[in-house]
């Protein structure tokens, strides 16, 4: 994992490590100056071992989540690097011929024929580069997709990448590793032999000595399996087999032809990468425009790193809520510690301890917990990360990915430092907060009286007085923080900041800034109101209630607005909904709900007391169970917020996952009404497949329709659209100069007349004048200048409307939510720049999003005939089976009938469900990862309950004295936890449902079939799990409270 959110991990490590060392250094210096404070602080650590364990647990969660996310990312990066570079052997650079029809960037379409060139090019190149010391070896290879059949087992691998290796390939490919261990020299390959990689051998059921038949253009050739080697394919999407270059050239009747020149470079990895970067431009100059030079190793590593970064970003992004809850927990833990030591601290202050000394003691103690917790969190995070890798590995197993658990030392250092710093700064702020106490109130354990507010002038001058008057740099820093806090807490200043962010978001079309600014403005309104009420001599409790209710309800109302409401009302840009906005929204909604409830707790208490007044003997228990949390607003608010945050994100995830489940991959809108799809290699086309099916006794009469298509990569451009804002890379532009002018690569699906005549894909939008979907398809059959496109370009066009074009192909002017559109003219051209064939098509229909597995511009074969002369081989066949027949059986029959053609049929529903299952599995894993955050809420309740038992020991004695049975005491504690947990859970569920409802409505504008159908059972399961887990942590404290003997409790001080 090289970057995190686009920032280099090396930079992140440098910064976090430096900050960590500074923190430890400063704290160490303070401890050295006042060792007595350090000793006093550290004595608290072993004082209550169970509590210390709970604190460490609470403090480690943020580190654990960060580490687990990094572990997943590192494993993905490492495994992908291994997989991507395995097939390269020693190859660092590759040269291939640019075929105007086959762009080499983007995902490879291996159904296409591979362009070849004379092997003499290799000799010429070698001669021109002479004895460049950086080059370790050269080789020429020839690759093509081929069907293989094991004549012994009668198993086939319809699409296998067959690679011809010359004797010189030893230098670039290196040795192949035998499945049984040991090397197999490439140069030892002889004509008549074939080497299979494990994927191919598994598919064929082959072993060394078997005879494998290679079929090229219908002509079979038998080869003997010399050996089986480890998986060698770069993507492992296809099996791989090796033959000698001369054998390959003979098979394909391409004497002297190769498809790739490979170069191996000297030195270690950095040296090879640097040499590759230097040599590539030189090779391009020598080869001219017809060739493409790829820094293969660099590309493989970059691709692997990108995949790792995507996983890390997703997991870190989704754990933000849990980390936020973890930060709240740290605040809570330290508030509890302060409450426990309130009278001690009061006494210490009374006998002359400075406030700063108390802060320092908390910081010393906090850092001790922090260092330990970060270490435990990192270790557990590695385990959790690897467990998640195990799950992902299981999900991707069918795709042949081998995930190797791996974690970089750099990631461990960054995770440790990040977790440590997040915890330390939270601890430092908590320490400063809790050490501000009223000495008398603390000694007598009375509630703190409200502090008189310091005048602004005193706050403004405090840092200077401390720095220049008493020379207390740390005190000055604290005063600066206090000043910043008080400035933000004053309405006008935070309002100004909010307005600034609002404006910046509006002008810069940045939703994150806009919504953050709007939220800050709402908070500022409440703060200003509070300030005005203070001027109006309104008593503190009332003014807080009014101000925080205004803020809370304002935030709830703002974030509950349907997405894009402000866009429709006042013309704010349509920002959409990204993960960062989701995070801000969640935080603000939860804050709003908690403020509203906590500052109106008396109303809630009254309501509950009124409601519970009818419960009889349970009444006193319920009364105390509700009264205690409502009296301790800070800790209750924190605990509620933690639960609410995690539940909120879990509910939103559940609802969104449910949307995926609404998609039925077997319905005709998703499959075109076909049940079987079969692919065939481009170089091995089947002549008149429908006729062969009709003539085959096992297949005749089994299908009601057979359609075909050929995938072609074309470039498209909507006239009048601006060129992309984001520039293409030099390499992209060199290969496709048209990109600069706004051309975008997009797949063209050239469909045959049978497809046009009877496919059942559903159109979401039709051009004016077409009464039905059928009319649209019929029109294309008649007029080759007409086309249908899938919904993706339309969605891209819509989301980028007014923002400029992006790298993706977009079509503007079509609203996917409206059933009717005006026809849109789209220009097309073959890749390759000026001189390439070009033309226009008119889009008269947009496929529904149900057809998302079949993206592309649907063109007729008549149009393709204008682009490319000669018959276009069909590479994709669609079969509609006769009602009442078994698609799986027919799939097997088709495979058997066209074994030698390499036809690979799949049952569409099964294949699509499998792809869907991977998505569902990954989402489920994300949900599971987020559920780790529940530990935060559960730990919080454990901390609160344990503390409550200690804190209320005497009161428990009183309750027992006045007649509370043991069960009533235990019940009161359990009900109290239940009250907090259920309130948090309830807020999270309601807010999650509100936000997900808005999201679904927003998405449904583009996909009208989407419905808001919350998975109630799953939600119930999450609620029950969270509630039961929270109860489990409070059972022990509750039992402990109940078992206290009354006299013992009353004696306790």
């Amino acid at each position: 994992m090289a970057t995190l959110f686009g920032v280099s991990m090396d930079i992140i490590m440098g910064v976090t490590l430096a900050l960590s060392l500074i923190v430890i250094g400063v704290v160490g210096l303070l401890a050295w100056r006042r060792p007595i404070l350090l000793r006093l602080a550290l004595r608290n650590v072993p004082r209550r071992r169970a509590q210390t364990a709970l604190i460490v647990l609470g403090l480690m969660l943020a580190t654990l989540l960060i580490t687990a996310a990094f572990g997943t990312g590192d494993t993905m990066t490492y495994s992908m690097r291994q997989a991507f570079t395995a097939s390269l052997g020693n190859t660092d650079l590759t040269v291939q011929q640019l075929n105007p029809q086959i762009p080499m960037d983007g995902p490879p379409d291996l159904n296409q024929a591979t362009p070849t060139f004379a092997g003499q090019e290799l000799a010429t190149l070698q001669a021109r580069l002479g004895g460049d010391a950086r080059i370790a070896g050269w080789s020429g290879t020839l690759q093509e997709m081929t069907p293989l059949i094991d004549t012994t087992t009668r198993q086939a691998a319809g699409q296998t990448m067959l690679e011809g290796l010359g004797p010189d390939a030893q230098a670039t490919a290196g040795n192949l590793t035998l499945l049984t261990g040991g090397p197999l020299a490439v140069s030892a390959l002889r004509d008549g032999e074939i080497v299979l990689d494990k994927a191919a051998a598994d598919k064929l059921g082959a072993q060394a000595g078997d005879t494998v038949r290679v079929v090229v253009a219908g002509r079979p050739q038998d080869l003997r399996v010399r050996a089986v080697v480890l998986a060698a394919s770069p993507s492992t999407q296809f099996p791989v087999a090796f033959v000698s270059l001369s054998q390959m050239q003979a098979l394909y009747h391409l004497p002297g032809q190769i498809s790739t020149i490979n170069l191996a470079l000297q030195g270690d990895l950095p040296a090879r990468l640097a040499a590759g970067t230097a040599l590539a431009p030189q090779l391009r100059r020598l080869l001219g425009p017809g060739f493409q030079v790829d820094e293969a190793r660099q590309s493989a590593l970059t691709g692997a790193d990108q995949i790792g970064n995507i996983f890390t970003s997703i997991f870190v992004g989704t754990s933000l809520f849990s980390i936020a809850a973890g930060v709240l927990l740290i605040f809570l833990v330290f508030a509890m510690l302060a409450a426990e030591r309130k009278s001690e601290m009061g006494m210490a202050r009374a006998v002359g301890t400075q406030r700063g000394h108390l802060t320092q003691m908390f910081i010393f103690e906090g850092l001790a917990y922090d260092l330990g917790a970060a270490a435990v969190g990192t270790a557990l995070g590695v385990l959790v990360g690897f467990a998640m890798v195990g799950v992902i590995s299981g999900l991707l197993g069918n795709y042949g990915f081998q995930l190797v658990p791996h974690m970089e030392l750099r990631s461990i250092v960054v995770a440790y430092c990040l977790g440590m710093l997040v915890t330390f700064f939270t601890v430092a702020i908590s320490a400063a907060r809790v050490s501000r106490l009223n000495i008398v109130a603390a000694i007598r354990d009375l509630p703190d009286a409200p502090r008189p507010e310091q005048r602004l002038r005193a706050r403004l001058t405090a840092p200077f007085r401390l720095l220049f008057g008493e020379f207390r740099p740390l005190g000055c820093l604290g005063a600066l923080f206090a000043l910043a806090g008080s400035l933000l807490a004053s309405g006008p200043i935070s309002g100004g900041l909010g307005a600034l962010l609002l404006a910046a978001g509006w002008v810069g079309k940045n939703g994150f800034l806009f919504h953050t600014g709007a939220s800050l403005t709402i908070i500022a309104i409440g703060l200003t109101l509070r300030w005005l009420l203070r001027l109006g001599q309104v008593r503190p409790a009332r003014r807080d209630r009014i101000a925080y209710s205004v803020m809370g309800l304002g935030l709830l109302a703002y974030w509950a607005l349907p997405v894009d409401t402000l866009h429709h009302w006042i013309g704010v840009p349509a920002f959409g909904a990204g993960i960062e906005i989701f995070f801000v929204g969640g935080m603000m909604m939860v804050a709003g709900a908690v403020w509203t409830i906590i500052y109106n707790s008396d109303l809630l208490l009254g309501l509950l007391t009124f409601a519970l007044g009818r419960v009889g003997r349970l009444r006193p228990v319920l009364k105390t169970a509700v009264a205690y949390p409502m009296a301790a607003t800070f800790r209750t608010g924190m605990a509620i917020a933690m639960f609410a945050l995690i539940m909120f994100v879990l509910i939103v995830m559940s609802v969104l996952t449910q949307l995926n489940a609404q998609f039925d991959p077997a319905k005709p809108e998703a499959t075109g009404g076909y049940q079987i799809q079969a692919t065939v290699p481009f170089a091995n086309p089947i002549r008149d497949l429908p006729a062969q099916v009709a003539a085959n006794p096992a297949l005749q009469g089994q299908f009601t329709a057979i359609a075909g298509e050929t995938l072609l990569p074309l470039q498209f451009h909507q006239p009048g659209e601006p060129p992309p804002l984001q520039p293409y890379s030099e390499e992209d532009l060199r290969n496709n100069p048209g990109l600069a002018a706004g051309w975008h690569l997009y797949v063209a699906r050239v469909v045959d007349p049978a497809f046009l005549a009877d496919n059942q894909f559903k159109l979401a939008v039709r051009a004016r004048g077409y009464a039905s979907d059928r009319a649209v398809w019929d029109a294309i059959a008649k007029d080759p200048t007409l086309a249908v496109v899938d919904s993706l370009p339309v969605l891209v066009g819509k989301s980028t409307a007014g923002l400029g074009s992006t790298l993706e192909f977009g079509i503007s002017g079509v609203d996917p939510a409206q059933p009717v559109m005006d026809p849109v003219s789209i220009a097309w051209q073959l890749p390759g720049g000026p001189g390439s064939p070009t033309g226009h098509v008119t889009v008269i229909g947009v496929l529904s999003q149900d057809a998302s597995f079949y993206p592309g511009m649907y063109l007729s074969q008549a149009l393709a005939a204008r682009i490319m002369p000669g018959p276009l081989p069909v590479t994709n066949y669609f079969f509609r089976v006769r009602p009442g027949t078994d698609p799986a059986a027919l799939r097997r029959a088709l495979g058997s009938a066209f074994l030698e053609s390499g036809l690979e049929p799949v049952v569409l529903a099964d294949s699509l469900r499998q792809q869907q299952a991977v998505g569902d599995g990954l989402t489920g894993l994300l949900q599971g990862f987020m559920m780790l955050g529940l530990l935060v809420g559960i730990a919080a309740l454990g901390v609160i309950s344990t503390r409550a038992v200690v804190e209320r020991r005497q009161q428990i004695g009183v309750l027992r004295a006045i007649g509370y049975q043991r069960g009533m005491v235990a019940g009161s504690f359990l009900l109290e936890s239940s009250f907090v947990a259920l309130l948090g859970i309830g807020i999270g569920v309601v807010l999650g449902l509100v936000l997900s409802y808005n999201l679904v409505q927003f998405l449904a504008k583009d996909q009208p079939t989407l419905q808001f159908t919350p998975p109630w059972l799953e939600i119930l399961g999450i609620v029950v799990l969270a509630y039961v887990a929270s109860l489990l942590t409070t059972i022990l404290p509750a039992r402990s409270a109940a078992s206290i003997y009354p006299a013992e409790a009353l004696r306790y001080i």
């Binding site: 009375l446 509630p447 007044g613 009818r614 009889g616 003997r617 009444r619 006193p620 009364k623 105390t624 009264a627 205690y628 409502m630 009296a631 005497q954 009161q955 004695g957 009183v958 309750l959 027992r960 004295a961 006045i962 007649g963 509370y964 049975q965 043991r966 009533m968 003997y1045 009354p1046 006299a1047 013992e1048 009353l1050 004696r1051």
Partner: protein, 260 residues
Amino acid sequence: MVHATATPSVPATDSPARAPALVPPALAPAQSLAVEARNVYKTYDTGAVKVVGLRGLSLQVRRGEMVAIMGPSGCGKTTLLNTLAGLDTIDSGEILIDGVPLQTMSDRQKTDLRARRMGFVFQFYNLLPVLSALENVELPMLVSGTGAAEARRRAAETLAVVGLSDRASHRPAELSGGQQQRVTIARALANRPAIVWADEPTGDLDSETSNEIMDLLCRLNKENGQTFIVVTHSPEVGARADRIVRMRDGAVVDPDRPLR
């Protein structure tokens, strides 16, 4: 049987106003014993050492009597009160409440007995800080199964008796020490207990407030005929009782010294 009557609210002051009497529901003949301890032993085992709390203590308290238990610190006064009230267990001997031995009762029965027949006044008030004065007073009634409305009415009446009607909605932190102790007394009496246990009821109060509190306790004792067992260090408080029981080293040294 005399029932309490509704009480008009009285000015907020630490001084109790005249108020209607509160009478236990079933007053037994005056001469019968409310509490009896026979040869009670109680030892605290702290692990390292064993501390003898009560050493063969015997005591009798008649119904309607106000008894002060006095003695030096550590002599076992609070231990005696706790064991007599069933808040703590004994090692041997016998304790009878209304003639029923406590040892034969389960924890549930003892708790139930406390809820229905006993009231407690503590030195540090021990009010529940999260409940208002009124809610603190009504809590024991709710525990013993009194209906919500009835509990609320009687709590208000009792607060009026102790002169705190206008402080009913205040939480303990918003009351002075004397006011809190009155709320404690109101809580102890609201359920019309037969026996009221008071552990240093004036220990945390100044002398003037102590006198007011003792005036209140004595008045209630006389008017309602409830049994009061008061643990105290204070000779002034002891002097207000019917009788002083003096203790030393876990035993009664002067069990029957009537003052009035």
